[in-house]
Symmetry: C2
Subunit: 513 residues, 2 copies
């Protein structure tokens, strides 16, 4: 395979971080904005996010949630109410202190000292407190429960070190917030939404994830339980791709979310919150990208099929375009995954080869080239982006008839979606190591398994307090973290890796974004 001339300059195996930057740029996903910590999401990147939104929104609505919208500004005093919540966030928020600019007399502008806010406003880092205020107004009796809300919004958490899609000061997300009558129902809902995230990650993004509970030191500020889905990137690192929190009555108490129960008594609600963000796009890139650029799963691709006529700038072009348009129209009238196929006939000016490699780098799932000879033979030249290279280090074109292509591509898109998922799942399974039973073995493992060692599943006694802190520090020295306690993993049957006590559960440990 060494003769292959890949479309990117950086190999994943050589420098994964640089590869990530290169693929984002080569696939035209996003770029630095010039504003500290904020990115510009370019059309192809935003198109993928729109698809994630569309598919996840349907799942969120199907589970009975209503979308709504709450203010971006949160009064400082809201953060002062819930002590553990403040602690978690207080260090990194954008604070609005003035509501007017005036000329500084030298051609510039400054905040108008006359327009200083009495109470500063925080640009929301998350909306628990302000949605809690609304819930306190909206919930009166048990009949109003459960109250199930969702919001698509931008949020800001000031970040010193940023990485596109994975950690930016401003990001786009969805935050769900629900209120329930009791702990049981709220906990059940927390897990239900975790399952919605798992389904979206695996079935829409083709990104296998492991769902489980976070250990106590990794809980969301103010939460009683935090659950996550964790995906393995191609460098073996973990990406926390979504979280779902059972908040107990902590936020209900701070905001006064109370209801009258059937017996007429006043009760505090039990609340949940859960969110996923544009980080999912980063996950998609790092799970599916290869040395030729991005590979977008068909369910997320803004264009699932790109048809490239090999135009010659002469009188034969009209017939060729007509031939291509026949395929385009047939596909646009067909469906894949229950939606019309998204197909582009790209007849922009430009060299055919350059255009092909642009679409390879962008990761359009199916690229169809059509030249004069193809047309004469009644065929097209079809390239599956997920299986780009054939023998002799050449792109693996197939040449079905145009009619067969029109008929077969919808099914092919579904096959590609499955193939990307299977490839990622197999890779992840091959990179989870079990049976490590001591800190020394753990140290050895991560020292001797190359740059991308993956995760280990170990057993522990679920330490708390100081014992947990020590575990966290020991792991930190190896740049490791506990990812989660996977749902449905085998019962513990050995000793705690950290303390030697009898273990109570299995945990995943790895490096993480």
């Amino acid at each position: 395979m060494s003769k292959i001339r890949h479309a990117l300059n950086t190999r994943r195996a050589d420098d994964f971080a640089q590869w990530y930057q290169e693929v984002i740029s080569a696939a035209d996903m996003a770029e630095e904005s010039g504003v500290r910590g904020c990115m510009v999401i370019k059309p192809w990147g935003y198109g993928v996010w729109e698809r994630v939104q569309r598919l996840l929104d349907a799942r969120i609505k199907a589970t009975g949630h209503d979308n709504c919208y709450f203010p971006i500004f949160i009064p400082l005093s809201n953060f002062e109410r819930e002590a553990s919540h403040v602690e978690g966030f207080a260090k990194e928020m954008a604070v609005v202190t003035h509501h007017r600019l005036i000329a500084d007399g030298e051609g510039g502008l400054v905040p108008d000292p006359e327009a200083k806010l009495e109470e500063p406003l925080v640009v929301r880092p998350t909306s628990e407190t302000i949605i809690g205020d609304a819930m306190a107004r909206w919930v009166q009796s048990w009949r109003d429960l459960p109250l199930k809300l969702n919001q698509w919004a931008n949020v800001v958490r000031w970040e010193m070190r940023t990485r596109m899609f994975l950690r930016t000061s401003e990001f786009l997300w969805q935050e769900g917030h629900t209120a329930h009558q009791n702990a049981e129902e709220a906990k059940e809902h927390t897990l239900r939404m975790l399952e919605v995230y798992r389904a979206c990650a695996e079935e829409d993004i083709a990104m296998p994830v492991i769902a489980g509970e976070k250990p106590e030191h990794e809980r969301f500020p103010g939460a009683v339980e935090t659950w996550s889905i964790e995906a393995m990137m191609q460098d073996g690192k973990a990406l926390q791709a979504g979280t779902s929190h059972y908040l107990g009555t902590n936020f209900a108490e701070a905001a006064g979310i109370r209801y009258q129960d059937r017996e007429g008594g006043q009760q505090l609600c039990h609340t949940t919150s859960w969110g996923v963000s544009t980080r999912l796009v980063g996950g998609m890139i790092m799970v599916h990208g290869d040395d030729d650029g991005l590979r977008v799963p068909p369910k997320l691709a803004p264009w699932q099929v790109v048809i490239l006529p090999l135009l010659r700038d002469d009188e034969r072009d009209a017939a060729l375009l007509e031939y291509c348009e026949g395929l385009r129209a047939a596909l646009a009238g067909a469906s894949a995954f229950g939606e019309p196929v998204r197909v582009l006939l790209d007849d922009k000016p430009g060299k055919a080869a350059a255009k092909r490699w642009d679409w390879v780098r962008k990761g359009a799932p199916v690229i169809v080239e059509v030249g004069g000879r193809d047309m004469e033979d009644g065929v097209v030249s079809l390239l599956r982006r997920d299986r780009l290279w054939g023998e002799n280090a050449k792109p693996a074109f197939e040449t079905p008839t145009r009619d067969d292509a029109a008929q077969g591509i919808p099914t092919l898109l579904e096959e590609i979606q499955q193939a990307l998922f299977a490839e990622a799942r197999d890779r992840r399974e091959a990179n989870i190591t079990r049976g490590i039973e001591s800190m020394d073995a753990l140290k050895d493992f991560f020292a001797s398994n190359g740059r991308y060692p993956g995760w280990v599943e170990v057993q522990w006694a679920k330490p708390t307090g100081a014992a947990l802190e020590k575990v966290v520090e020991d792991l930190k020295a190896l740049k490791l973290t506990v990812r989660n306690v996977p749902i449905g993993s085998a019962p513990a049957d050995g000793a705690c890796l950290f303390t030697g006590e009898p273990a109570v559960e299995r945990i995943l440990v790895g490096r993480a974004y």
Copy 2:
């Protein structure tokens, strides 16, 4: 009609402003958030906005625009570049000055003085300057043009006097930004997007609008031409429902958006921008609402049909629910306006009459009640929200068979959409007065035509400079403004109302939101 017991306390005829507040609250559209100038958009209100988004987004994509996302924060220096743009906005922006909070030692939080930003950031009031920066990076040659971008986002313009949906400090909108090779193409595009707005307003929102050019003193800061669509509310006031701007090379010059033309020369781009916002929801309320609440046009209704079984809390309920579910399933499988019918079977606990009136106030286009006797007779009781009252001051129920209802409702929805539009258009036409030819006549007209006098179409000489300022002030004394110069209006054939000179065009004058 005096015996009708309307579902709202306030009549439109008595106090339109109070009616507006009441309908928003009674229809559960939005509420004050407790954060200055910001509202909470509740599920029914947000559901309407989501529909506007969905329909308008399809129109924007169909005209070749790509969605993308730019940072919410704009460096102060961006605003200093384009002088006339600053002037227009400088007075009302939210300014971020710190990126961290710290404990004040008394249980509270304060902006951390150590975390003061070197350059304050402005929360975007609009994104011309930051998108201009990106365009300058993305445009190299004529081949990159036209560049057609769109963004759905929240924006903030600090407002002292706010009114829900119409003027709030934070609002949701769409802002389109394009760059072109020359003035002709950019001007053409400005009008093309104005036409997209007209089509959305009239065909989706059923809100008739008049498209035209704004006079020079009403231009967007930095624009060469500003065009608007103007809708007449039921109190005869104008709502500027959308604007489209030709920006000349002003923003291109400030941001350095240049391209190499076919001859190799460097040229400045000509840019456009255009936007509509959640204000459209306010327009929908004031155009279609009546004394019983909201009337949502079927294309925008989150639920187009609501089925209300008259449950009795006994063993007969199961059969009744099954009967209703038959209708629900049939409708959900049918389509109206090319989409599946959105139908809700509302089986929540609650008294049947209270639930009916809740849906009347929310303005669901078709309400279907089903009682035990209806079921025995094989019929349903169907209420058209746009024609609520029959003879004897009673709700005008019809009783088609269940099968006829299932078959007929999709067409009925399309009829209701048309009927709402026709009603609004007829009312607007009845409330535009022509033939007023002097300031005195204008004064008399607005003094003697009651509380809701509507608009007048007059002729003027298109004054500029000081002459225009005088006109603006004279009109202001009557609380009037020039709305726009309607596209396609008859040529001028008389004297300027303001100066007596020969008129050059016709303008619409009225009170406005």
